[in-house]
């Protein structure tokens, strides 16, 4: 197990390294330099800033430096905010993103599981139809549209939640909801399929024949077994939440990394784009790793020692 | 006894390992040697996971043997390259019938195309008419209505499907057929149909069979000689009657004692013999002929006793 985790962590760094390299060279492909209004700088000034950013070195050296810095947790400095280390930038904006991200994941997962389970238990009834419809709706409305609607009705019209901005828990409710719709839909649909499968399995029959009531069968056996595969979609879910947060943070004016990412794009802030790319990838790989480990812990059938693969 | 017969398949020290070098290495077949003679039915029995299917699949080269030799009509086929002409020829000479009547036919292909696949590959039909005609003949041979050749497999019952599988194997005119548990998935009432068919075909065409099965009474019935497999090794090999009347290996004895017999009287009085792996296996043992035509996996001391 430890060996397996260590190997996975090694892979994690390998993957990150590859991602970092690809990103680095992609960014180098971009024309021009990061300095706005170069024309306004004297050649001497330019020389000095370039040296500051290490851009006077050959690309290969820059690459070595960048990768070297990476290992020390240094992602370079932002072009948009002169001299601000990207790591610091990410650090300052991490908390809100993590909070709404986590909330959205939790809400999405819990309600998705409930919705999916109910649909599966009441398979082919109107309850199922309704639940399916809700989950598909969740999948079908772009988060930015949902965000706008939530803001307009729940906040602006009915004053239930703050319109935007980031100050207390209240203000995280709407962004969370807007973000949770997609994972909720996904989890619910996945859960339903799994649960329908599980409900028709032999061990559920056996559980029924032991005298478990329908409710007991569901809570003691079906739910747990259907949940295990649901764990596998946490990774993709994390991605959808990450990307969704880019727009949702923008709309609700939340100072998160998603909003920063979009801004970095519109300001050509390459170091920040690179940094965030690597950071997002890191998060994702980490989530996948944790999910895999969890999966092994939750599901007794999976022996991580055997490679942990299908 | 063996001299006057012609071996069609000779298996020499065949080893088939999986996941070599990994923690989950499996020695599915572990140093197995035997001959199959022309025209006979060679039965292979043993518990689940003992390596019967693997042996069969290695012989027909679905796997590349880890080591050892497989001679087919005297020619070593264990090292044939996949796309070589020799391999292609070999592919028409040896065929296989599979266990699962549901999984062994491609659900998306019509019966006609399933049966004709071999014809197409080996160019055995010159044109479409000949192809159709051949398929009709084959269907007739397995007692299926040739009109049904445009149907899809799922429209047939298990027994019928198994016969389609037989027709497919027969299409390329093989001399040797490996039947891997061809009847274990079938209903009792239908098993006999298939077994009878296999025997009729063997008689008509002078085929040689390797018949893998669980069901010992059926194996006894169909086979001339029987090999008993246990944990990747053949532990005993002899004529069918000999095996049943004079089992020498404790595992064979245990196996025989467990066969249920549809006769309440026998059942009520039978004694089961338990088999203990660790007690009966050790390093000194090897596969040797202890009586004429009767081979046993044992140490030399034991062998001497029987000789």
């Amino acid at each position: 197990m430890t060996k397996y985790i260590l190997r996975r962590i090694l892979y994690l760094f390998l993957t990150l390294f590859i991602i970092a390299s690809i990103t680095f060279f992609l960014m180098k492909l971009l024309p021009g330099t990061p300095f706005t209004n170069q024309n306004r700088l004297s050649p001497e000034q330019l020389k000095i800033v370039k040296a500051q950013y290490g851009l006077d070195q050959p690309v290969f050296i820059q690459y070595i430096r960048y990768i070297g810095g990476l290992f020390q947790g240094n992602l370079g400095t932002s072009f948009q905010f002169n001299n601000e280390p990207v790591t610091q930038l990410i650090g300052q904006r991490l908390a809100p993103s993590m909070q709404i991200g986590a909330q959205a994941m939790i809400v999405g997962t819990i309600f998705g599981i409930l919705l999916g389970a109910i649909a599966a238990i009441r398979k082919n009834t109107w309850v199922d139809t309704l639940a399916t419809f809700i989950s598909i709706l969740g999948l079908s409305i772009p988060s930015f549209v949902l965000a706008v609607l939530l803001q307009f009705y729940l906040a602006f019209k009915w004053h239930i939640y703050p319109v935007a901005l980031w100050d207390n828990f209240q203000s995280s409710v709407l962004p969370t909801l807007a973000l949770a719709a997609l994972p909720l839909g996904n989890v619910a649909r996945f859960m339903r399929t799994e649960m329908v499968d599980v409900m028709s399995s032999d061990y559920i029959e056996l559980a029924k024949s032991k005298g478990n009531s329908n409710w007991q069968v569901v809570t003691k056996h079906a739910l747990r077994n259907s949940l295990i595969p649901v764990v596998t979609i946490i990774g993709p879910m994390a991605v959808s939440v990450m990307t969704g947060s880019m727009v949702v943070e923008n709309i609700f004016s939340i100072p998160g990394i998603g909003e920063q990412f979009v801004k970095s794009i519109t300001t050509n802030d390459y170091p920040t784009i690179m940094g965030l790319t690597i950071f997002y990838s890191f998060l994702l790989i980490l989530v996948i790793l944790i999910v895999d480990i969890l999966y092994g812990l939750i599901d007794p059938r999976i022996r991580l020692g055997n490679g942990g693969k299908e | 006894m063996a001299e006057d017969r012609n071996p069609i398949v000779q298996v020499k020290h065949l080893k088939q390992y999986f996941n070599i070098g990994k923690a989950n290495e499996v020695k599915a077949v572990d140093d197995v040697s035997f001959n199959i003679y022309e025209g006979e039915t060679f039965g292979l029995v043993g518990e689940s996971g003992s390596g019967k299917s693997t042996t069969g699949r290695s012989i027909i080269r679905l796997y590349k043997p880890t080591s050892g030799q497989i001679l087919f009509r005297g020619e070593d086929i264990s090292k044939l390259k996949n796309r070589s002409p020799k391999m292609k020829k070999f592919r028409s000479e040896m065929q296989m019938i599979f266990q699962d009547p549901y999984a062994s036919l491609n659900p998306r292909m019509k019966v006609k195309d399933i049966i004709a696949e071999g014809l197409d590959i080996h160019g055995l039909a010159k044109n479409d008419d000949e192809r159709t005609q051949r398929v009709e003949e084959l269907l007739d041979m397995v007692h299926l209505n040739p009109e049904h050749m445009t149907r899809y497999p799922y429209e047939f019952s298990g027994g019928q499907r198994q016969r389609i599988g037989i027709a497919r194997a027969l299409a390329v005119d093989p001399q040797f057929i490996i039947a891997d548990e061809p009847i274990s998935a079938l209903d009792v009432s239908i098993q006999a149909q298939v077994v009878n068919l296999l025997q009729d075909i063997q008689r008509d065409r002078g085929l040689t069979y390797m018949f893998i099965a669980h069901d010992l009474s059926m194996v006894k019935y169909i086979s001339d000689r029987i090999a008993v497999m246990y944990a990747g090794k053949i532990v005993e090999l002899a004529d069918a009657d000999e095996i049943y009347n004079n089992p020498l290996h404790p595992y064979t004895q245990s196996l025989l004692s467990a066969i249920p017999v549809p006769d309440p009287e026998i059942e009520k009085t039978r004694e089961r013999i338990d088999f203990d792996h660790s007690r009966h296996f050790n390093d000194q043992q090897r596969f040797q002929e202890v009586q004429p035509g009767h081979f046993l996996y044992c140490d030399d001391q034991t062998a001497a006793k029987f000789k």
Binding site: D202, K208, H221 | V188, A192, N196, H214, I222, P260, P262
Partner: protein, 349 residues
Amino acid sequence: MERILDVKNLHVDFKTYNGTVHAIRGVDFHLNDGETLAIVGESGSGKSVTVRSVLRLLAKNASISQGEVLYHGEDLLKKSEKEMDNLRGNKISMIFQDPMTSLDPTMTIGKQVAEPLLIHNKVSKADALKRAEEVLRLVGIPNPKARMKDYPHQFSGGQRQRIVIAIAIVDYPEILIADEPTTALDVTVQAQIIDLLRELQQKIGTSIIFITHDLGVVAGIADRVAVMYAGKFVEYGSVDEVFYDPQHPYTWGLLDSMPTLNTSEQDRLNSIPGTPPNLLNPPTGDAFAPRNAYALQIDTEQQPPFFKVTKTHYAATWLLHPDAPKVTPPVSIQQRFKKYQAWLEGDVK
């Protein structure tokens, strides 16, 4: 002997795309206290549906259209779902065919075995686990105390089937329904399981309904045998009667198609030709008629009633009608008759 279970005129239908499948078309049987009743028949004949109807564990698209299932005189079909829950796993329990998939993969086997106790009896968890351990020992799981904490995948097929049996008997049920409990197992393991069931029956005195399509297994375990074909019973009687004095051509076919160790290669096997009827539109007459070498004109028109052979032996074939012609059964069956005759005479002596 007391009848603890009495099934009367059971009809079960399934609604499907193609129409209604009449899976069970009037089944009557009973189970005596302490006996083992074996139900044999080929795949799809309705064995599982019959016994599942007893526990009311049928698929959602099933409906029991007619009949009664009397357990100690009470009709189980009229009970509420809650009352049924109280019976399941307690008074009547069930063993399923596939040991590989019958156990919850995410629960330790100790908990799974103890579960019926916790559901039905007001016992503490510790007591239940203790009892589970005893039962696991009883069914022959070595070192049960330690292994209780293991998960199903850590056991072999035979062991898993033993665990499934342990679950079924942990609450000393009156009736144990075993639906092909050994089909997926090796012969040697199968033999062990059958021995185990026999042994258990003696120890806890439960009545067993044993389903199989393997006549050899039936011969080893059953007191009485019922033969099923296309949703109906065609013959039933004591194990000796059915094996040595079979009356129904289908039973003949079954017995005749199995080679015994004495059948030589020269004897051609006898097979039952054709395929079972489609239960979407069951035939009006005897469902077996199209495959029956001894079919009579009447078979195509009218379903045969049960004819009494002895007090305990009945068969549903027109051949037993006084007006029916005498037929010569297959050789192997004749041998069985002879054996029975000899045996009866010996018995009389």
